[in-house]
């Protein structure tokens, strides 16, 4: 079962993709896209995990103590904050489409005017 956490990441990614393609609502679509993006965090953190490792913080812990990988944590951390902003940008676009086309179903928007 040593690859199970990685497979979970794949699962989350694929579920998000299925959600995007079958979506009937822009907000639902945006959330599915974020879900797919979040699968990368699961993968990154799973890759960085070390059995018996503590947090990579050496305040009150002896230097050299086994710790999980800080590189992958830092990658996930900055991206979580940025992804929220990007999600907000997509929602703003959805709001704009809703105002211009009068619908929030991606299938009913055939052509977008500027």
């Amino acid at each position: 079962m040593s690859v199970l956490p990685y497979v979970v990441a794949v699962w989350v990614c694929v579920i998000g993709l299925i959600g995007i393609v079958t979506s009937r609502n822009f907000i639902h679509l945006a959330i599915c896209l974020t879900l797919t993006q979040s699968s990368t965090y699961v993968l990154l953190l799973a890759v960085g995990y070390v059995h018996g490792g503590g947090p990579p913080i050496f305040k009150g812990v002896k230097l050299g103590t086994t710790a999980v990988d800080p590189v992958l944590q830092s990658l996930a951390l900055t991206d979580i904050v940025v992804s929220v902003t990007v999600l907000a940008l997509i929602l703003a676009l959805a709001l704009d489409v809703q105002k211009q086309a009068g619908t929030d179903d991606p299938d009913e928007v055939h052509e977008l005017s500027g």
Binding site: S2, V14, I18, V47, P55, I57, F58, P70, A92, L93
Partner: protein, 246 residues
């Protein structure tokens, strides 16, 4: 393309993609079995070399500071995009209606929560190189604290706090300051974003050198960006509501 045809096309594609991904991750080292070299190295040198006890923040604002600069500008660009998109809508300006909280309990606890939230945020930023925290997390916490002003009081109180004249310059200073610190290192003859000013005292708020300033600028950028976001969406939602005379 009809919806049906799209799903028929998508089904084999996603099945194949999923299978390829599983095949790919099956070849990774067993879960938890490996200490990867770069992370191992950072875990062992961040404290002796930079006097930072939090290896994650050391990576974010020092060792990989240039990468974080890129992330920051994604944030900046996204917020700029949101502002551009939302502000083109005509907004009816309606003032005078009240949406204030009538419960004294919510008011009192809410205002307390604003203070606590902002304080926790600043603490997360200040001790970013020591204990879990850093500019990104702290910035979000500060912004969440300030947003509570709207929950605890009303739109009018919030619009006094979340003024454009304050938020926009702060966001600019946050993003610009990061670059200026990078350039300052260049001018001094070192590489872009080289940590200067000495490593400081490990385990205290005075650790981190110039990366501590980078940390504060990032916190400013993240907090102002999130508040600006909240402001734009709230304007979109609440100003027409006010205009209708609810």
């Amino acid at each position: 393309m009809t919806r049906r045809a799209r799903l028929w096309l998508f089904a084999p594609a996603v099945a194949g993609f999923g299978a390829l991904l599983v095949w790919a991750v099956a070849g990774l080292p067993d879960f938890g079995s490996t200490e990867h070299r770069y992370g191992y190295l950072i875990n062992h040198v961040a404290l002796p070399e930079r006097h930072m006890t939090n290896a994650v923040t050391a990576l974010v604002f020092d060792y990989r500071g240039f990468d974080t600069l890129g992330e920051e500008f994604i944030l900046f660009a996204a917020v700029t995009g949101i502002v551009l998109l939302l502000r083109q809508h005509e907004r009816e300006r309606g003032r005078g209606q009240s949406d204030s909280t009538h419960s004294d309990v919510i008011r009192v606890l809410g205002i307390l929560a604003v203070g606590v939230g902002v304080l926790i945020g600043l603490w997360l930023v200040a001790f970013g190189f020591v204990t879990p925290g850093g500019g990104f997390q702290g910035g979000v916490a500060v912004a969440s604290g300030v947003v509570l002003v709207y929950l605890a009081a009303d739109y009018r109180a919030w619009s006094r706090v979340g003024r454009l004249g304050v938020l926009e310059p702060l966001e600019g200073i946050g993003a610009g300051g990061y670059v200026v610190l990078g350039l300052a290192a260049l001018v001094s003859g070192a590489a872009f974003l080289t940590n200067m000013l000495g490593p400081g005292v490990a385990g205290t708020v005075w650790s981190g050198g110039s990366a501590a300033l980078v940390n504060w600028f990032a916190a400013l950028e993240v907090a102002a960006a999130n508040l600006l976001l909240f402001r734009e969406f709230l304007e979109e939602y609440i100003v027409p509501l006010h205009g209708r005379g609810s």
